[in-house]
Amino acid sequence: MVNSRRVVIAVWVVALFWTVAVPGLMLTASALFTAATGANPQQFSGVTFIPSVAPVPVTQLVDSGVHIEWAGVNLSNGSPAQYEVVRTGSDSSVHTVCTGASAPVRQIVTDSCIDTGVQADVTYTYSEKPLVQQNGSVTWSRPASNSSVPLLAPKLRFGGLGVVTTSTAPGVVAVKYPLTATTGDVAILIVRRSRKSPLTAPSGWTPLVELASNGPQSFLLIAWKVIATETSVNVDLQGTPQGSAAWIASYKRTAGNTSTPITATATVRVENAPASSTFTQTAAITTNTNNAAVISIASVLATNSLSLQTPNNYSLRSSTTATSGGNGFAIGIADQIAVKNAVTVQPATWSQSGIPALWQVATIAFS
């Protein structure tokens, strides 16, 4: 019993220690009054490019150079990306193009620009790199796109078509050059009259096509020269009451083309064809130099609209009509670049609207 009492006393002593001493220790150690509250996380995220892979540009020769176009890239905030467009040439040249006033512009869902700095006879590829700029400095960008399909800068490219000159009376008339024509360009004179008697090329011009037709009567004259400083040429259209019409087209020399233009085919293809809605020349043309501009010129004796039904790599450059002496005249000009010497260029298929009229078509080439 004594032992039991001692045990009980000992237990109460321990209990007293737990009751008094331990809580005191815990208060000083960790049983402090505390409270806490946390804010919702502040979230931050960076902008992204959409799409994340830079689209490959598609290039096309245009009058003023090379038109470069690709699917537009936007930032995730909705604004359009900016770009660095790089041109790589077969001459090992690498240039950033489409800068400043020529910077790419957005057209609905595509961005495009024109590179006016190409040099004749050089093959180019283009890539574009989407980027953002701050204070004129590039900050973020995406890897540049893959390169575009190689494109050869031509020696010559279509410059324009001058206003038509018509005549119904004998005598010389002035046929104007296109306003865009400059010294060194190739001028091509196209005269169509509704009589079969021949026309003569003006002095200093090299005739390429002198094609007559009996039924109905018609004559097509095509001649060319390298433009000096003149802005028109006097031509005897041998006007008759049946009328005649004359135009001058020009082909501009691409930068770097310092050679005097020459004809680039041994044989000019010339054909008359009966009235039909379409016409394809029966023979192809074969070039005799590299990088030749192959030009197809079609005409009909009607105010029909001419177009390419089957382009066969030709691009339609101009299609126009005129009326003289109660007769209608129409011409169409299309061209393509033949990259290599001795290339056989298959003819395009021309089409005319309205009631079919007699075709007179020629294909020539310059380099």
């Binding site: 809580p23 995220s45 953002v132 701050q134 973020w140």
Partner: protein
């Protein structure tokens, strides 16, 4: 024999039960001290309260489409065109208390915060006290250290003066994505979380702690 032994030990058993009961009672009063919400216990022991709550309306940021050079209005450099984040709180306890904040930064797989000068920068302040500048905070001894990504920094003291009931604390979070931010940060995301906490100041000397630095001489609980 088993019965006798039981009888012989019964005073012991009952004493132990009493001990457990007393200890449980004692511990119960102790655990009530951990919470500022047990008002009944506080009244019974006439103790003060330590509690915190929200202050004025805060601006919880969800800043999207950040580009290099973008910054919030209070950062001091960059575009200054983005919205400043705020977190307004109030000390609501009636016992004076030390106040501190914890800063945690977490990021997705593609991060915007890189814990160096090339990623997202922060300026976190409580009033005029700077808690984080760029990617750095100040340690106990005054040396600067980096807030690591997907990590946190605890117990940055807000003031060496104990807070009183209804004291308002306004946290501001300004940010800058520097112009030098790498392409790899495109589309990255990060989050900064502030935790505001208080602990009784009574019987807790502040020691050498300095506002805007970590304070470890105080037991924050």
């Amino acid at each position: 024999m088993k019965t006798q032994r039981m009888k012989r030990f019964s005073p012991l058993v009952s004493s132990f039960s009493a001990l457990v009961a007393v200890a449980a009672f004692a511990l119960g009063t102790t655990s009530a001290l951990f919470s500022g919400t047990q008002a009944g216990a506080a009244q019974e022991f006439t103790s003060g309260t330590v509690s915190v709550g929200l202050g004025a309306t805060s601006t919880t940021c969800n800043v999207t489409d950040l580009m290099p050079g973008d910054s919030s209005s209070g950062y001091g450099s960059g575009s200054l065109a983005r919205t400043q984040c705020t977190y307004n709180v109030k000390y609501t306890g009636n016992a004076s208390a030390w106040l501190a904040a914890d800063i945690a930064i977490s990021s997705a797989a593609t991060t915007l915060y890189t814990a160096d000068s090339g990623g997202l920068q922060f300026k976190v302040k409580a009033g005029s006290t700077s808690l984080m500048s760029g990617t750095s905070f100040t340690q106990v001894g005054g040396s600067s250290s980096t807030v690591a990504n997907n990590d946190s920094v605890s117990n940055i003291l807000l003031s060496t003066t104990p807070a009183s009931e209804n004291d308002l604390i306004s946290f501001t979070i300004d940010y800058l994505l520097p112009l030098s931010a790498a392409n790899a940060l495109q589309g990255g995301s990060s989050a900064l979380t502030l935790t505001f906490h208080a602990v009784q100041s009574a019987n807790q000397p502040i020691g050498s702690c300095v506002a805007g630095r970590q304070c470890n001489t105080i037991t924050w609980g």
